[in-house]
Symmetry: C2
Subunit: 341 residues, 2 copies
């Protein structure tokens, strides 16, 4: 087992001081040509690589960024993650991922753990529970320590920091407006509980589009499903008790489930009923029929989040008056078979 070689080893072997070795490897002007060459050759031969941890300790920079997301087996989050990872990697950063599993406690624990020197900044999307509790002290603590933080998608206004979101309200508006323009009148919304701020925004867009088109929102056309463990019955009942000719779903899975049950009921898509979902994932592309859906540009979102974070990390100036931005990414409606064209 080859042990990792350190400056000390090289110094001892070459009978020079550690500082000479360090400088020689950095090609410092201070060191003579012969010594430099000797040291560099030796280092190359033994494949010397500086120890990251030692360097981190010295510079107080880890070149790691912490990403905390609610779930990893999830198309949208992995897409964002890919954007983060690509940008970060290209700029010399590594990514430490923690999954909060939609739990407040895990989110807190993971943040505290990472905040003790392991990372230079955070990128995160709030867990469901955190949004429910409306408790953001862990975020506040981190920002007060001067650790940069970027929130994406599931954000909160309680915390001053950089944010990246999509124009949820407007795209929902446009989606519903489009449904109305194709003659639909009884448009349902299938959503989650309201504590998800994105769901709230989408609901607002839904309502506004209805109203601007002279329709009024009916509570019974809004179905709120639990985030986990949806059972078919709720959906079936919803379709049985209401006449519906179009559905906007706040995510892809809800849309697929609804389409299946509508089809089972004998409805033809999109002739009798149209569907639009959020999250342009693999399901939307390969479902039958393929689903018209809102592309959230997750990878771009991740890339921008990483860009904002790294910029903050590397801006030496800890200006007294920090300035925070909220970047809004334009979502795109991708039309497929579940809506008439």
């Amino acid at each position: 087992m080859k042990q990792k070689i350190t400056l000390k080893h090289i110094a001892r072997e070459l009978e020079v001081s550690i500082s000479t070795v360090s400088k020689a490897l950095k090609n410092s002007e201070e060191i003579g040509r012969d010594t430099k060459e000797k040291v560099q050759a030796f280092a190359k031969l033994y494949n010397y690589k500086p120890n990251n941890i030692a360097i981190s300790l010295k510079n107080k920079r880890t070149k790691n960024i912490g990403v905390i997301i609610p779930d990893i087996v999830h198309h949208f989050f992995t897409t964002v993650f890919r954007g983060i990872e690509k940008y970060a990697n290209a700029h010399g950063y590594n990514v430490i991922v923690c999954v909060s599993d939609e739990s407040f406690d895990k989110e807190v624990i993971n943040m505290e753990l990472l905040a003790n020197g392991s990372i230079d900044g955070f990128i995160m999307s709030l867990s469901a529970e955190t949004q429910q509790k409306n408790d953001f002290n862990h975020l506040k603590e981190v920002t007060e320590q001067g650790i940069p933080l970027v929130l994406f998608d599931r954000v909160t206004e309680e915390i001053d920091c950089d944010k990246v979101v999509i124009n949820d309200m407007e795209i929902a508006y446009r989606a519903v407006d489009k449904l109305i323009k194709t003659g639909r009148k009884r448009i349902a919304l299938v959503t989650t509980e309201n504590y998800f701020n994105v769901s709230k925004k989408r609901a607002e867009g839904y309502q506004k589009a209805l109203e601007d088109n002279g329709l009024k929102m009916e509570e019974r056309l809004v179905l709120k499903l639990p985030y986990t463990e949806v059972n078919d019955e709720m959906i079936t009942k919803f379709f049985d008790t209401n006449e519906i000719d179009a559905v906007l779903c706040v995510n892809e899975l809800f849309a697929i489930l609804c389409m299946r049950l509508a089809q089972k009921k004998g409805l033809r898509i999109p002739e009798d009923i149209s569907f639009i979902g959020f999250t342009n994932g693999i399901l939307s592309r390969y479902a039958t029929p393929t689903l018209t859906t809102v592309e959230q540009h997750g990878e771009k979102m991740g890339q921008i989040a990483a860009e904002m974070l790294i910029k903050k990390i590397e801006s030496e100036i800890d200006e007294e008056e920090e300035t925070y931005r909220t970047e809004v990414i334009e979502a795109t409606l991708i039309e497929r078979e579940s809506t008439p064209n």
Copy 2:
């Protein structure tokens, strides 16, 4: 901005030495009651938390594990990742993820970067390119340095280390055998190029099942698709030029694509043609018809990989004669609508 407090700050404030503070916080017997209480109270008040980096440097243990996977927007890998992350987190480890993007170079660069002190061990699945090149020097270097390594799913026999795989050959055998038992005779295999060892194993199982049932393998019933950017034409042509009554696909996506095109051709599933895929992902569950598929138990795989790795990391004994295991997870065939029952 509250600066992070260190032992030095506490020491200065309380007019004791740094070592006294350190020992007091660890409740050492060496320190008097009064001093201990004073220090502990102060530390709690100012929310002192030791710096992870300093501790890592001291112990030569980072409590980080490096995970290198070919892709993150991918159901199987994220599932495995979830298993790794859960187990690691529960045992005090954080996870640094690098995505090789199926590229040999990225795999090498990322490994070298992380190997310089950032992590205590690796869990990885080989990139496509690495398997093609058959070049594993980067793995060899890492293991020679004494850094524990666990390979999963896409493994190689060239490297001595712990491994976690599924019984690909047998499950493919069982799948094909099942197809034959339902009366199918012209069974196709849709696979990738052979340099994926898992594809090779699955192909072996396919062939053996045919032969054991008195059928012989026909090359023209084997379709090799490129791993990326599949175009429908290749598949259509394959179906047009061959009479096929069952298909085994080495992944979920191939199966979905094939099913769509078979349906388009007017074939009924499973009456005219059956399908079995690998990877029990979201597509299999929600496609029309739902897909009979091989569940690879990704989460379990990740959990076992993490368990093996952490055990190696924490076994102080760097025994001269290391002993490596290959854990084989039993895959399960999940029957759905794409096969008759």
